[in-house]
């Protein structure tokens, strides 16, 4: 008998949803891109699972996600700085993240907690979901994509498999970047006092509890408008920093409204969207301005780092072999460091 191989969501944690590279081409009818908040995590997770880089994945906030193989073996891979464990036939074992693992029927994988940041991505071999308007990304407000247009909940089952039956690991995970979040002033900087942009880049802001896939409300020194805190609505982009009348900035992310009537003082560069989305409520951050051209250079460098990371992924020997041996045999980790340092000296480089 041919049983279906599936991945069951046993626990969804704080919030988990199916995402991919996003839904392009429909902003003019009000449909945001949605898609993975940190596309680098998605691409690495998929590469670890043996999928194409833009395949649908599970994106989860703040850990707590537990998934189990049903009807056969399922290969999953975790990207993100997480503490992971597998409940297997031989008991419970800890697993490093940044690798894939093949769960036998009945085995489960759990993201116990995030070691840093709040985003983890779980890629699933052979996860196939129908594209809605060109993408499987879940956009809950309009019920698009994912499984029935909803966030993942316990009991949901996703079609899955063991893929090419090779587990893989990323020898050296991406370096955490504690530097400022980079922004390009505009499009409505002129709607604010001259001091407002200075304040935004000089002061510390804090992530509030209102932080999700739509956006992140920040709190900190008030940004003063020159006139009314309102404009005739125009387009927003992922990374727009809009400032309503209370002077507190809101950074818009993947699921945000496509148009808005609040002036936008600045826009995050594309390479830093994932970093901002990964900040936890209560965490402090700083902004630094760059030009649009500098932002594009950083985007190219970021892409180079991502490709180097993916190129460094290595097949694992069958389980039981010490992964650390492979880690220590890594020859390309230094490339990643060099690329990062070119644009953003690491704190250790100042010492």
């Amino acid at each position: 008998m041919n049983t279906k191989v599936e991945l069951e969501i046993v626990a969804a944690g704080a919030y988990a949803s199916v995402q991919d590279g996003g839904r392009r081409g429909h902003r003019r009818i009000g449909v945001p891109w949605a898609g993975a908040l940190d596309s680098r995590l998605m691409r690495i997770a998929n590469a670890l699972a043996g999928n194409v880089e833009g395949a649908p994945v599970i994106e989860c906030f703040d850990g707590g996600l537990q998934v189990a193989a049903r009807g056969g073996a399922v290969r999953v891979a975790v990207a993100g700085d997480a503490s992971v464990e597998v409940d297997g036939r031989d008991g419970r074992r800890k697993l490093p993240s940044w690798r894939s693992v093949t769960l036998a029927e009945g085995e489960s994988l759990r993201i116990r907690r995030m070691l840093s940041g709040r985003l983890a991505v779980v890629a699933v071999a052979d996860l196939a979901l129908p594209a809605v308007m060109g993408s499987a990304a879940t956009y809950v407000r309009a019920g698009l994509g994912g499984v029935g247009g909803k966030a993942l909940a316990p009991g949901v089952r996703l079609p899955a498999g063991a893929g090419d039956a090779v587990d893989r690991a990323l020898p050296q995970p991406p370096l955490a970047d504690a530097g400022p979040i980079r922004i390009v002033p505009g499009p409505q900087t002129g709607h604010f006092t001259d001091e407002a942009l200075q304040t935004l880049t000089a002061a510390e802001y804090r992530v509030t509890a209102e932080a999700d896939r739509m956006g992140v409300r920040l709190e900190g020194p008030r940004l003063a408008h020159r006139g009314a805190a309102e404009i005739v609505s125009d387009a927003t982009v992922p990374g727009s920093i809009q400032v309503p009348g209370n002077g507190q900035p809101i950074v818009l992310l993947a699921d945000a409204q496509t148009a808005g009537g609040y002036p936008k003082i600045a826009t995050l560069i594309s390479a830093d969207l994932g970093r901002l989305a990964a900040l936890r409520p209560g965490q402090a951050l700083r902004f630094a301005t760059v030009t649009a051209d500098e932002g594009a250079s950083i985007a190219r460098a970021h892409e180079g780092e991502t490709r180097a990371l993916i190129a460094a992924i290595r097949p694992l020997l069958p389980d039981g072999i010490d992964v650390a041996v492979l880690y220590s045999a890594n020859l390309v980790g230094g490339v990643v460091h060099a690329l990062a340092a070119e644009f953003r000296p690491l704190p250790s480089d100042h010492a």
């Binding site: 392009r24 902003r27 009000g30 407000r141 387009a235 932002g295």
Partner: protein, 256 residues
């Protein structure tokens, strides 16, 4: 016409024609948008992902790995010259049913009180005007329509609602809209439209398009329930609400 090119990060830029709701600005936006679409169809503007037209500006989303601003702007320059000469896109004419009573109209009494007219006068004014769909945005299928009769113009509510029910027909400033989805919102709710504005299964998921014209037709709560049941069972086609004259014109065009 003066044009400003505004930075919107490293992956988007906004071409702004002005800061008002104005048919001349809208025409310029539409003309540039159409010129860009033609250029893309010819294989130009590599790296441009999509455009977003609004009342007064066009935002271009591009892939900074596939193009750069300088190349994009150089290719846009000749297209910008054409933008002054457009006319607003001519859309279809709709007659959409609205229930202006009871639970469907939570702010009707307050709006009438604030304006110093009767509820019936508010409804007559709101349903007695042809509205232009200036743009879609905010939420999937959400139409920003105008202009409201002067007498109905009010600022947004001081306290935005946390939950505006889907289908709500709302007014604020000089505009009217229909909320296709439950969402927070600060507009005044005058009624409810039973026709779904967005369906991802359709070839054109948004019922309305920028440039369409909309007239609201009052129906009783009972009538709206019947309409809603007919729409959800598939007995009523949403295109039923295209204006009869407009439908005849479309049929004649298709027959030609």
């Amino acid at each position: 016409m003066s044009v400003s090119i505004l930075d919107a990060g490293d992956a988007a830029l906004t071409i702004e024609f002005g800061d008002a709701i104005d048919l001349g600005l809208l025409a310029a936006v539409n003309a540039l948008d159409a010129a860009i679409a033609r250029r893309q169809a010819e294989g130009g503007l590599a790296g441009l992902i999509e455009t977003m037209p609004t009342f007064r500006s066009l935002t271009l989303f591009y892939d900074p790995l596939a193009t750069d601003r300088e190349a994009l702007l150089a290719e846009l320059q000749p297209l910008l010259a054409a933008a002054g000469q457009g006319a607003p896109a001519r859309g279809r004419q709709w007659r959409l049913p609205v229930c202006y009573e009871g639970e469907a109209a939570p702010d009707l009494a307050e709006v009438a009180r604030t304006l110093g007219i009767t509820e019936a006068e508010v409804v007559a004014l709101h349903a007695g005007t042809d509205y232009l769909v200036y743009m879609l945005g905010f939420l999937p299928g959400f139409p920003f329509m105008g202009d409201l009769p002067r007498k109905l113009r009010l600022p947004r509510r001081a306290e935005p609602r946390v939950r505006v029910p889907p289908g709500s027909v709302a007014i604020a400033t000089g505009l009217t809209a229909i909320y296709p989805w439950e969402s927070p919102g600060g507009w005044h709710l005058l009624g409810r439209c039973p026709v779904p504005l967005f369906d991802a299964r359709r070839d054109s998921p948004s019922l309305l398009a920028a440039g369409d014209r909309v007239r609201f037709v009052p129906f009783s709560a009972d009538e709206c329930r019947v309409i809603e049941a007919g729409l959800s069972s598939g007995e009523i086609d949403p295109l039923t609400w295209l204006d009869a004259d407009a439908k005849r014109a479309t049929a004649a065009q298709e027959g030609a």
